[in-house]
């Protein structure tokens, strides 16, 4: 995969439009997802996704580090979002609880009754609410891990932090999340 990616990157840097489209096809959805989860604004997430790829395409010929494209790409995306947030002097909220969650696509509901599906959606809403209660640093790692589908090693590189720190924080975040969910369920019971 890495060699194939390097070849695609080289071709795109040389002006090959098919290679560039292939890169966008592979990564734009994940970039969008990460941005959307952090800013809770679909339009803004699309704008920043575009801006991210503009930055990437203008720097592609300078990109030399093989095998580190994903951390580089996602770092650009997050920095671009952060700059935009600063510029607009808005605080980045994490999840738009009122928005219709598009997150079930790709997961089959064929075997589920409508009640099961409803319950699952509620459970997922609850999870997203719970994530919002975590510290920003924990939220970021969860989004990078579960929305952008980065490995912990890639997350560590994107955030410029030791792998162990990221792993520990990721696990701690999951543990906290579980506790919040349990508390919510106890309150409801």
């Amino acid at each position: 995969m890495s060699e194939a990616l390097d070849e695609i990157l080289q071709n795109a840097a040389a002006g090959d439009q098919d290679a560039w489209r292939s890169l966008i096809q592979t990564y734009s959805g994940r970039v969008f997802g990460l941005l959307y989860r952090q800013c809770a604004n679909g339009e803004l997430a699309q704008e920043i996704t575009q801006a991210t790829f503009v930055k990437v395409v203008t720097k592609l010929s300078e990109y030399r580090e093989q095998g580190r494209f994903e951390p580089w790409l996602f770092r650009i995306a997050m920095n671009t979002l952060r700059d935009e947030m600063r510029r607009k002097k808005r605080h980045a909220s994490t999840v738009d609880l009122n928005s219709t969650p598009p997150e079930s696509i790709g997961h089959s509901h064929d075997q589920q009754t409508p009640f099961d599906q409803l319950q699952q959606t509620e459970e997922h809403d609850q999870l997203r609410q719970a994530v919002k209660q975590l510290p920003d640093a924990d939220q970021k790692i969860l989004y990078m891990r579960y929305t952008a589908e980065l490995s912990f090693a890639q997350i560590a590189e994107s955030l410029d932090e030791p792998l162990g720190t990221v792993l520990a924080r990721g696990h701690r975040a999951l543990k906290k999340l579980k506790k919040i969910i349990e508390d919510i369920k106890q309150e409801q019971a």
Binding site: G29, F32, Q50, V57, I105, H107, H124, L142, L163
Partner: protein, 253 residues
């Protein structure tokens, strides 16, 4: 302690940290120091596990050593984190694996976000244009383009302000040398001179300041220090040309 007992199986760097940690714990030094060393040991261990081809028995030994060391005087919250994270690394080698635990699967689904169907096309349309240009050129095209309207507004405001000035005080003169294009600093100095009290032009002070702000703004937009190199940015140059035209008009009065 167990950590020392298993030291022989540790790589040198880990053994050194392990020893340091054991010593810190034995001497009962500041808990923060112990925690810092423990964290270093943990990070080094994880790095080692990820980077090194290893045997299962070696992993078990490392894991046991680490936990033994930490268990003597556990830094707050670290033992659990170490246990979970190390167990995770042992299981996955920190690759892009999918953890099948039910809870993680729920989190994965809950945090998944489906992009708009036309996202690829949109991004491609917005970016493919740049494939045919050299990066340094592109880097300047975008800010210069976005700054052009600001320059036009700035020039118009400046023209209006100066004409108002002439109307209010027809005896003034521009002090810069018309033979040379003035620098941004000179322009600002001229404006300051014209605006000095008790001139009646104080009323348009805000407008003049807006012009100066615009100059600063588009200079920042193109990442250029106007004081260092005022001719680097074509927009500044355009503004100066507008000023020259303005001066010519003033001379003709």
């Amino acid at each position: 302690m167990n950590a020392q007992a298993s030291n022989n199986s540790l790589p040198p760097e880990l053994a050194r940290l392990d020893q340091q940690l054991a010593e810190a714990l034995r001497l009962n030094v500041n808990p923060h120091t112990s925690a810092r060393i423990a964290r270093q040991l943990f990070n080094a261990t994880v790095e080692h596990l990820v980077a090194t081809p290893f045997e299962d028995s070696e992993l078990v030994s490392l894991d046991a050593s680490l936990h033994s060391a930490l268990a003597v005087s556990p830094p707050v919250d670290l033992v659990d984190a170490v246990h979970n994270a190390t167990a995770h690394v042992l299981a996955s080698n920190a690759t892009n694996e999918v953890d099948d635990s039910e809870f993680e699967t729920s989190v994965r689904i809950a945090l998944h976000a489906v992009p708009p169907a036309d996202l690829t096309d949109r991004v491609f349309s917005a970016t493919s244009y740049y494939l045919t240009f050299d990066p340094p050129v592109i880097a300047r095209v975008t800010p210069a383009w976005t700054a052009s309207w600001r320059a036009a507004i700035a020039a118009a405001v400046f023209l209006a302000a100066t004409l108002s000035l002439i109307w209010l005080n027809p005896t003034f003169e521009i002090t810069s040398n018309p033979e040379t294009t003035p620098s941004v600093a000179e322009l600002k100095q001229n404006l300051d001179t014209l605006l000095a009290p008790p001139s009646p032009v104080q009323a348009i002070d805000a407008e003049i300041q807006a012009v100066a702000a615009s100059v600063d703004e588009f200079a920042i937009a193109v990442d250029v220090d106007p004081m260092a190199d005022p001719y680097y940015d074509p927009m500044i140059h355009d503004l100066e040309e507008d000023l020259s035209l303005l001066e010519a008009q003033i001379d003709s009065f």
